[in-house]
Symmetry: C2
Subunit: 384 residues, 2 copies
């Protein structure tokens, strides 16, 4: 087991009716900016619940944060927040709204000339506006971590940032808020959480049995409960398990003390940046093919995963092949294709993505062996 530090102070308020706790979580004198996305919160009743809970506060609204939130949009919110003297940000929506809100929290008091540097060059910042979250879409895990992924339209970039200053102070997770989600968003959320676990688990063993067992537990929960939530979106317990599993998938516990990969995300981000493909779908396009290309270096973990998660038996080679096939099958069972052809990704994208990785001048993966050339091989296999 590797050494680690773990510190996660996010307060989780989980379950039906937890919105009633909202006023206890925000300082009484706070001037609140309510951030949200494309307007689903008006249809599912969450906006009305939040406004009712915040009736005694001064609230400024900033909506229109898109999926894969952009620097261009968010900087408009930053300007308003500065003008209005906002001192608390309440994100209401899914991971994109929350990621965007985290960027805003850092950008509002940022003293440098160019807030994009927070993302592009991970510029240090020492202040952030406090954040709270009301989550309406289980997927990204952003509700219990300090990471965010931000896009820039102008340059077709999509990059991550992270800093403990942007931990949400609290996150309200009421599974009932997910009841009206369209099937595509439910499927994407399950696929996203599943891939988060795989990025932290499917590497090489360091005898971190406790972490492996937890990761396998999250995978098994997603595999067992995901189809139930898709089949019946108002199955409260299915929604609750998926919501809590997606949070556990990326709250730092699974990564503590183990090597992590994250190459699938790095490649997927480029596909979203270039073609606007849903984040979770880009992961499904990459991961099964990455596993095939790296099946020798990931062999021990593929065997363990095949046996424990998919209950496979057979020769070692059969287990490895079966484990990769089961992974692709799982995405497909959610209605998410795993071949690039299904998304009309052209062959020229391979060259373009490889060039972007070459420009970065670094390799990825738990062994730093995902070179630009390997990225090309993975995408070629997905196109085949």
């Amino acid at each position: 087991m590797n050494n680690f530090q773990y510190h996660n102070p996010v307060r989780i308020l989980f379950g039906k009716g937890q919105m009633a706790q909202l006023p206890k979580q925000i300082p009484a004198q706070a001037k609140v900016m309510l951030t949200y996305g494309g307007g689903s919160i008006f249809k599912n009743g969450v906006y009305d619940q939040v406004k009712a809970a915040l009736s005694s506060y001064t609230v400024v609204e900033f909506g229109g944060i898109e999926a894969n939130p952009t620097y261009e949009t968010l900087m408009k919110g930053v300007e308003i927040a500065r003008q209005e003297g906002i001192d608390f940000l309440l994100s209401v929506g899914g991971g994109s709204v929350l990621d965007g809100t985290k960027f805003m929290a850092a950008a509002i008091p940022f003293e440098g000339p160019d807030a994009w540097q927070i993302v592009a060059n991970r510029a240090k910042f020492t202040k952030a506006i406090p954040i709270g979250a009301v989550l309406t879409l289980p997927a990204t895990g952003s509700e219990m971590n300090y990471y965010a992924v931000i896009s820039r339209q102008e340059t077709q970039e999509k990059k991550g940032m992270g800093n403990p200053l942007v931990y949400p102070q609290f996150s309200i997770l009421d599974p009932e808020t997910t009841f009206s989600l369209p099937p595509r968003q439910i499927a994407n959320g399950i696929a996203d959480a599943f891939t988060h676990v795989m990025e932290q688990y499917m590497t090489y063993p360091v005898r971190a049995e406790m972490q492996d067992r937890m990761a396998e537990g999250v995978l098994l929960t997603l595999i067992d409960e995901g189809p139930k939530m898709l089949a019946n979106p108002t199955d409260y317990d299915a929604a609750a398990n998926i919501m809590w599993a997606a949070t556990m998938a990326l709250n730092g516990l699974l990564a503590a003390g183990v090597p992590t990969d994250w190459a699938t995300h790095q490649i997927g981000h480029e596909l979203t940046a270039l073609h606007g493909i849903d984040h979770a779908r880009t992961l499904a396009v990459v991961l099964p093919h990455l596993l095939e290309i790296k099946k020798e270096t990931k062999r021990e973990k593929l065997l363990q995963y095949g046996r424990r998660v998919w209950q496979l038996t057979g020769t070692d080679d059969e287990l490895v092949a079966g484990a990769i096939q089961k992974t692709a099958d799982f995405y497909e069972s959610l209605g998410i294709p795993t071949k690039a052809s299904a998304y009309a990704i052209p062959a020229s994208t391979v060259t373009e993505v490889v060039q972007r990785f070459e420009a970065r001048g670094m390799n990825f993966g738990e062994r730093a062996d995902i070179t630009p050339q390997v990225v090309g091989e993975i995408l070629e296999l997905s196109l085949a």
Copy 2:
């Protein structure tokens, strides 16, 4: 799944050499009281490491905190801390030292006339001295929760307290500090952690699949790695897995959103209070017999546990019997007897414990069906 709140701000510093982080965790001007137990930290080198790390601090020492820490001992430390103006408590040792330190943290600034009321009547307190911990014995989980169990010699009582104010600010967990533990303490620690999981898991299903999978993961880790640590106490990875599993067993995650039992602990505490039996051993004396007596109300979970944790097959009745037998066998495999006769507990103890439960005027267990009479039945079975 039940509603829950979860908030755990303890910073974990895990692994070899983490003691070097100690000075960064304690305010530079703090006047520190170093609390410890019977002196094992002088033999295993931890005392020297801590003193070296704290060379720039004013440090007052308070040793001699016993297993099952007593109010009588702890109040001596409280007096010294008040006289010395201590503003940080550093617990160095196992769960007993840390539990005692948590009581001291609350008692030092307590303004009521009788600090025992913090334990006896869960008297509210609004201030506590900040705590840090260096853990040398994996067992109780106290390093990542806000609970403590305190005994009073005068009245032969053993009772719990809990308050977020006594969360450790940080806990240093270096598995190498466990290398010199005697086998009895290693075995007790594994048994204690195992029972903590069972208290939160072996109840009735509420479709909290995520929590169940995590609980099963901790149990499997203890079952797989426990014997390795016992066989080879300097197996770093075995020690690391047991240490992290014991922390995960009682940091609040397993209990979030599910019913919990804790009757085994309540009965076990009385056996320690009356006969001075090691805490973990009292749990082994109680749990298998409690499961036998309550096997109908715990039937669904016993079946799940038998299948998933012990890989049992057969009829449902065979699974239930097998799951209970495997539980007893596990304690015995650690060298911990599960029958009261092995501890020379006399038959008169049954009457005495039943009377203590009658005096409390409340029932225990996840269904509040562990009446004083049922407590008697459990102990009779253990004596049989």
